[in-house]
């Protein structure tokens, strides 16, 4: 579905991505991990079409630059790391904005039944149906992120790009979100590409991981393969597996104690 070849992109004079290439099949999910500044967000932006790049990105065989704006948004859409809102739109209205690509242009559009049901389902999926009439500029960061996620879900593109979607969320929501995304992509035959800081969540989302560092792809493969190798240590400059095993050990001890008490 996605064929990215030799993508180079940056901001102003600074080049961030230095010739990145990868492919994504239909209905395949992908996690992207890597240290700050490695180019994860830049890559997402190039894919979404919000940043100019050199190289080729093909979506379903067609060059991304040849897509019309609405059509492109129907294929691939992105949820940014953080968004500022300044106006008093309701949650419902904001989620409804995701239906734009399915609407006819003009001020006299009617909201279709399908639009309404998609919006409702999206709100339920992200757990915000209770606050549907709250004004978005009064919400907390986490609530706002869920609203914008619901909007992307209502938009129903083939590929969703998520830039660190779990940042503002409570732990329970983080897990809930990843599980939801996994189910959603499977059920609808969609793809989710998630930039995640938390490797556990990355593993939860998908088996395939892209490890990036300094604007290049260090590794592209299964979690098992990458997490089992020395690559993580090299990229993060620490002994990642030791740290993980250590933590895991402690959790296991706590679980043991609990079992003895019961």
């Amino acid at each position: 579905m996605i064929d990215a070849e030799n993508i180079t992109a940056g901001y102003g004079d600074v080049e961030i991505l230095h010739g990145v290439s990868f492919s994504l099949k239909d209905n395949e999910n992908l996690s992207i991990i890597g240290p700050n500044g490695c180019g994860k967000t830049t890559l997402l932006r190039a894919l979404a079409g919000t940043l100019s790049f050199s190289g080729d990105i093909l979506l379903d065989g067609k060059n991304v630059k040849d897509y019309k704006k609405k059509a492109l948004a129907g294929k691939i859409s992105m949820l940014s790391q953080s968004t500022q809102v300044y106006f008093n739109y309701t949650v419902y209205d904001t989620v409804m904005m995701g239906r734009y690509i399915h609407e006819k242009d003009g001020v006299f559009r009617k909201v279709s039944a399908r639009d309404k049901s998609m919006v409702q389902k999206a709100m339920e999926a992200t757990g915000i149906e209770q606050i549907y009439d709250r004004e978005v500029n009064t919400l907390s960061g986490g609530q706002l992120q869920r609203v914008l996620l619901a909007k992307v879900i209502a938009q129903d593109p083939d590929i969703i790009l998520l830039d660190e979607p779990t940042n503002h969320l409570d732990l329970s929501y983080q897990v809930e979100l990843i599980q939801f995304l996994k189910k959603w992509s499977k059920r609808k035959g969609k793809s989710v590409i998630g930039v995640l800081h938390d490797m556990n969540l990355a593993m939860m989302l998908t088996d395939r991981v892209l490890l990036m560092d300094h604007g290049k792809i260090e590794a592209d493969g299964s979690c098992r393969h990458i997490f089992g190798s020395d690559l993580l240590n090299k990229v993060y400059h620490m002994n990642v597996s030791h740290y993980m095993v250590d933590s895991l050990g402690r959790w296991q001890d706590i679980a043991e104690d609990k079992r003895h008490q019961d």
Partner: protein
């Protein structure tokens, strides 16, 4: 209360304000005379005890054109303000941010100082409008050179730069040509005094077209309030919209400033009131702002004419004097709601 009901009330208020603007002025005219003149004019009836010629002139040729001009000017400025705020994702943006009013004032200054009149009565408005539009285009052109993505911060910065430059040029012109200084200063303060029906008919097409185009783009404008990135990935052609709407706002404001001078505050303040009452959706906010802008402007002009009659205060002074405290009140109110 549903929005439709609110609109009906708003329209009624607008009609009321227009009636007040015609019936009240620095000269007191008995209501029955006002009624006689208007009814007589509309239905071509001649009354037994006719009203004096000068009173008829005041009503039909001074007050009505003035009230109508004030209404469309206020409406146009308000719609322009809505567009600026949404496109630039900035609740404090106004059509003056991009330098259109400074540009228009500079164009008008040239006409006044050089005493140009080769287009007759159209000379001043045409120069003003053209200069205003050129200024905005320059701002956008430089912004896009500096920042290919045409991000809002860049636009606002270049707009400010050109605005300040135009103001500096106006100051230089004023100091070099002192006999015209008073006229230039007063022109910059904005006034509906001595305007003719012709001015109203000149502005009307701009305001109507501008409002209709804006309404047609209301969905895109809604989405653009989420920021360039979110808007783009929602399918909106952000760059095209920015050029279209910012230019449209410039033309709208430029046209009004060229005829009435610089009247501030209406475009900053009425969109906020509209959003408060009707919600943020542009489908409602645009027409509501237009009506509210008209209502506000007509009321301010009425005050400008009557507060120290027979003297007249420039209407721009009233819009700021009345608008500013109201604006602060809105702000404080909003703060409290948020905390609760």
């Amino acid at each position: 209360m549903k929005n439709i009901k609110k609109f009906i009330i708003l329209i009624l208020l607008c009609i009321l304000s227009l009636i007040a603007a015609v019936g009240i002025g620095s000269v007191s005219i008995a209501p029955q005379d006002t009624l006689k003149v208007i009814v007589g004019q509309l239905f071509h009836i001649k009354f037994q005890a006719p009203v004096e010629d000068t009173i008829i002139s005041i009503l039909l040729k001074t007050r009505i054109p003035r009230a109508l001009l004030a209404f469309v000017s206020g409406g146009g400025l308000a719609v322009s303000g809505v567009m600026m705020q949404s496109v630039l994702q900035n609740p404090l943006a106004s059509s003056f941010t991009l330098g259109v009013s400074s540009g228009a004032a500079l164009g008008a200054s040239f006409v006044i100082v050089l005493n140009l009149s080769f287009l007759g009565f159209l000379t001043l408005p045409v120069f003003g409008l053209t200069a205003g539009i050129i200024t905005v285009f320059l701002s956008l052109a430089v912004a896009v050179k500096v920042d290919r993505g045409l991000h809002n911060n860049s636009i606002i910065l270049t707009g400010m730069a050109f605005s300040m430059f135009a103001n500096a040029m106006i100051t230089i012109l004023m100091s070099v040509s002192q006999e015209n200084m008073q006229r230039l200063v007063f022109w910059q303060m904005g006034s509906f005094s001595m305007r003719t029906p012709r001015d109203f008919w000149m502005i009307l097409p701009f305001v109507l077209t501008g409002t209709l185009i804006a309404m047609n783009c209301s969905r895109q404008m809604d989405i653009m309030t989420l920021g360039d990135e979110q808007a783009q990935t929602s399918g909106v052609d952000v760059q095209k919209m920015k050029w279209l709407l910012l230019s449209l706002g410039a033309i709208l404001t430029g046209a009004i400033v060229s005829v009435a001078g610089v009247i501030g505050f209406v475009d900053l303040f009425t969109p906020h009131v509209a959003r408060r009452i009707f919600g943020a959706s542009h489908k409602y906010v645009i027409p509501a702002s237009a009506l509210l802008g008209g209502l506000f402007m007509v009321t301010c002009d009425l005050l400008a004419r009557t507060v120290v009659a027979p003297l007249e205060i420039p209407v721009g002074a009233i819009t700021s004097a009345v608008g500013a405290p109201f604006f602060i009140y809105l702000f404080l109110n909003k703060r409290e709601r948020k905390v609760k």
